[in-house]
Subunit: 231 residues, 2 copies
DNA sequence: ATTATCTATAGATCTATAGATAATGC
DNA sequence: ATTATCTATAGATCTATAGATAATGC
């Protein structure tokens, strides 16, 4: 975070790029976009700083003018992807509406947040590196989103809207649905992000709402079926 | 696949290990287990063959006696994780039961398949490397699982058990729930795999079953709420 | 003077190969 | 003889640093 390029007095200074591409005030953003695309396709360690720089129209060491380390690029991506949902969740949670309605709005917001082009960026939350100690801060921020879901789900259970269950576990299932559109977007690029958001939010709410209808009966029959097929 | 260790005539031959650990007929399996754990924690490129070998009690080049390349290790992991679910799905789909019941059984089977210790191995399906051309065969096998879900969901819609929708998209959401227990297992290691399987299958079936009850009303209110919070 | 970029490179990996070695079992 | 392992290493990376360079703008 030390070398971050800020609003500068010398607007257009600097040596020209070898690639010929004109320097842009958006360079930092372009590096982040290039990095996200490569991290998601090749993994963090598999995406070299050389490849990221090339995708951004720069030579490899120039990245280190904008970010102190390669890790810092991923960290900046994570934080940028969490800021808006965190703010949106805080706003939605404070509104005077029934828990199921607030939950619907939160899920829709989180799924629709990223525009169609940036949807792939959400896949950074599936990178194994997220689990490493160095990204504990990012995980904590993501856990705050999950905790918001859990509170809304618990409130919905108390009010009798949702069927009873472990609100924490169910919140994680809802979060895993939020991250599913990555897969969907890859398989069916035609679907609009608003349409996807609606499908995901409908799915999640249907899963939580009472009455479970014929669920009990189906569970019993399904488990019996499984016993039949055990080898 | 060329150098696979097969049932050998010379059972206990071979130079002893430098680590002192006794050689085992399970060496191949142990390499796969060590590799899965490291791939999931550090990513594919981030898990060196040196680290994998060390975790398996071997020196680095010994891996290449069992697998021709590092890629082949990941490929073997994928295939081993898909074989059993593919076979189970084929059996379940052929059974004479209503679509919702078969779907419940399939989801339960896929979620419960891996024992509690091996649950992390499921996370290999979240590795970005899966998207690369070299793993097209693995993706095709995974798509067959998703297609089975999609067929069952479509049948459930035809029979009037499930609310209408895009069966292909919904199948992907169900698959993303299957892969969620990774996250759950990491956050709450106490949950039994059978309990998790039940929670996931209940969640998915509730989401699909008719009637959607108050879903329409909640959706309208939720979207209205979102418009209020738009900045 | 300040800035963004460049070239060159040090030092640390990392995969895979070559070929030696220390067991077993015929 | 066959096997599983080892040691040594070639060759190809990959991150990050050092320091030069080519612009702008005071």
């Amino acid at each position: 975070m030390s070398e971050t390029a800020t609003a500068n007095p010398h607007r257009n200074a600097g040596r020209p790029r070898a690639s010929g591409v004109k320097a842009s005030p958006e360079t930092r953003r372009q590096i982040l976009d290039a990095a996200a695309a490569l991290f998601v396709r090749r993994g963090f360690a598999g995406a070299s700083t050389q490849a990221i720089a090339a995708a951004a129209g720069l030579r490899q060491p120039t990245l280190f003018h904008y970010f102190p380390t390669k890790d810092a690029i991923l960290e900046a991506l994570y934080m940028a992807s969490l800021d808006e949902p965190l703010a949106a969740f805080a706003r939605i949670e404070a509104l005077p509406a029934p828990a199921p309605v607030r939950l619907y709005a939160a899920i829709y917001a989180d799924t629709a947040f990223l525009s169609a082009t940036a949807v792939t960026q959400k896949a950074i939350f599936l990178l194994p590196e997220l689990g490493q100690p160095r990204f504990a801060g990012v995980r904590a921020a993501r856990e705050r989103l999950i905790a918001t879901y859990a509170r809304m789900i618990a409130q919905g259970m108390e009010s009798g809207d949702f069927r009873p269950g472990d609100a924490g576990l169910l919140a994680r299932l809802v979060m895993s649905l939020d991250e599913a559109p990555i897969d969907i977007a890859a398989a069916k690029p035609s679907a609009e992000s608003g349409e996807q958001a609606r499908i995901v939010a409908d799915f999640a709410l249907s899963a939580l709402l009472l009455p479970p209808a014929r669920l009990d009966e189906i569970r019993v029959a399904g488990l019996a079926l499984l016993n039949l097929t055990r080898t």
